[in-house]
Amino acid sequence: MIDLPAAAAAIGLLSGSIHAWLWVVPGLLIGLLFGALPGISVTMALALVLPASLYMDFLPAIIFLTSVYTGAGFGGSIPAVLINIPGTSAAVATTFDGYPMARSGRHNEALGLALVASCIGVLGSYIVLFLTVEPMADIVLRIGPFEMAAIGIWGMVLLGSIGGGSLAKGLFASGLGLLFGMVGMNTAGYMRGDMGIPWLLDGVPTIPAMVGLLAASQLFGLINSRFIVDKAEDRRISIRRILAGGAEALRHPVVLLRGSIIGVVIGAVPGIGASVANLVSYAETRRTAPDRESFGKGNPKGVVASESANSSSEGGSMATMLALGIPGGGATAILLAAFAMHNVVGGPRFMEESRDLVYAIILSNFAQALILLPVGIGFVLVASSVVRLPMRYLIPSVLVLSTMGAFAVEGSIAGPLTLYVFGVLGWLMARFGFPVAAVVVGLLLGRLIETELLRAWQLSGGELARLLDYPWAIGIIVLMLVTLGVSAWKEARRRPA
């Protein structure tokens, strides 16, 4: 599976070019910074630095951009842990246990867990990519709308069924999120629920709504607290505890491995990527854990599951991009644009003719994952000081920063308005015991599930029997129904007679 002469040529390319390595640390730092800023997505970070790469040679340019990509992948988890704002949509599941860990004074450990899980996720995904870049492309081509819709529904229903204290409330919140995701014009051209507001035709702005639901709603309720972490001794920033958290990640090899595999596979599917991978990995880890009741309350395995999956999805999406020339998402679309700027076209011919470059890109990413560890620790040490800020300063600062982030995503007042409406809704939902995260998941997946279901419906000509031709999709749906049944049964048993 490995073309050894090409791999040797790749090592030669990398060892002979100091310029390629000069850009790794700046790229990681830029990625960490942009990833940590709410509202600034990985795609936006890459778009902002893309012009700078025009003046570099092809390999240093791609290494610089993939460093930004790798840094942003972990950067998103920092605000997710510290202030419950996922810096990117790929870090949504990191908030579920990362933020409760921070609230209980374990922010150092949570960030260490996230960092090591991210590094291992990136490393694992590129090892998989190094070994299987060609067969992966073949698998990706076999995944159709039936399978994609099934994956989306799976992630959503699993989270709805296990979030919060009540199954009915979890599913209600998921349904609500799914309906929010369907507002506006669908792919068949029907306009629903837009209330005559022009910007709602494109749907509810996802990132502002997500930040409103998860962060603004929490911040409203925290006005009566003095600090994120109550006890003064727990607010200390400790490199020893960050490293201890990192070491703890290694004590969950199954969670790491499962997250990495889920990340690579889902990341490779165009249009799905890291924002779904972290949710599916989290849901699977929670479903199979013996201590599932402690998830959502600060279980380290939740952070490991989410971060290993969102980081490893980078390798998956790179596989699709390199082997097929298809961008799996916005970030890989920018990378393909960088290819084009250097007169290189990604895809099967690039794989065939420039395999040494493909291997050089993959090998440089191994190095990036290893360099991310010390760079990430340094960045985390600075970023963690947020827990020392009094809430009376933190709340207005974060709300205003999020508002600007929401504006930056949409380029209009639509972003801030959405942030506010969903912030208030999230606060009310949390107050009445609804799992707000389930709404976020539904919102993220609603449009995707509807689009894929519509495609599947059109492909089958409206005949349900055609579903039998897609055993993988059926398998996923059966697994989902069994999980749902088990959750309902367990809840019924918990209730007093």
């Binding site: 209600f172 600062s397 506010y420 519509l454 209730r495």
Partner: protein, 155 residues
């Protein structure tokens, strides 16, 4: 019979919005391309509303543990604490509403000042300096980063 009124009313309001969305979507078109996922999701959500409502309306002896926990948490909050949260929500709403007429700079400045005061900051130097300095840094930073123009009055 002891009814969890807050939860019941909130869930009913959400269910009302779901029903309105379903009816509006059905008004657009009844074809599968329009309702394939929307209609079953809306109906399932309405059924779940009935289940949640039943949990809120049962006699205290058989109310679900979840409903009890929510009621206990809400009851533990003092009226003063709740008033502070509501004032913050209103202040943030006013800030968002003022972004275009007042400008992002003035609106943010006033909101940060109000939120600091609500959070208990009484140091006049901090109240005078932090809001304008933070706002200025934010506006200049985002102006450098974001390609879209946004209205400001002073900066």
């Amino acid at each position: 019979m002891c009814i969890a009124w807050g939860q019941a009313l909130f869930t009913t309001a959400l269910a009302g919005a779901v029903l309105a969305f379903l009816l509006e979507a059905r008004g657009v078109s009844l074809v599968a391309d329009n309702l394939l996922l929307l209609q079953p999701t809306a109906i399932a959500t309405l059924v779940l509303w009935l289940v949640i409502l039943a949990g809120c309306l049962r006699p205290r002896a058989v109310r679900t543990a979840d409903a009890e926990a929510v009621e206990a948490e809400v009851a533990a909050e003092s009226p003063r604490d709740l008033a502070r949260v509501l004032l913050l929500v209103l202040a943030f709403g006013a800030c968002i509403a003022g972004l275009e007429p007042l400008g992002y700079d003035v609106s943010f400045w006033l909101f940060v000042l109000a939120a600091l005061a609500l959070g208990g900051e009484r140091n006049p130097v901090a109240l005078a300096l932090f809001p304008p300095i933070f706002t200025a840094l934010l506006i200049w930073g985002f102006r450098a980063l974001v390609p879209y123009p946004f209205p400001t009055s002073l900066l």
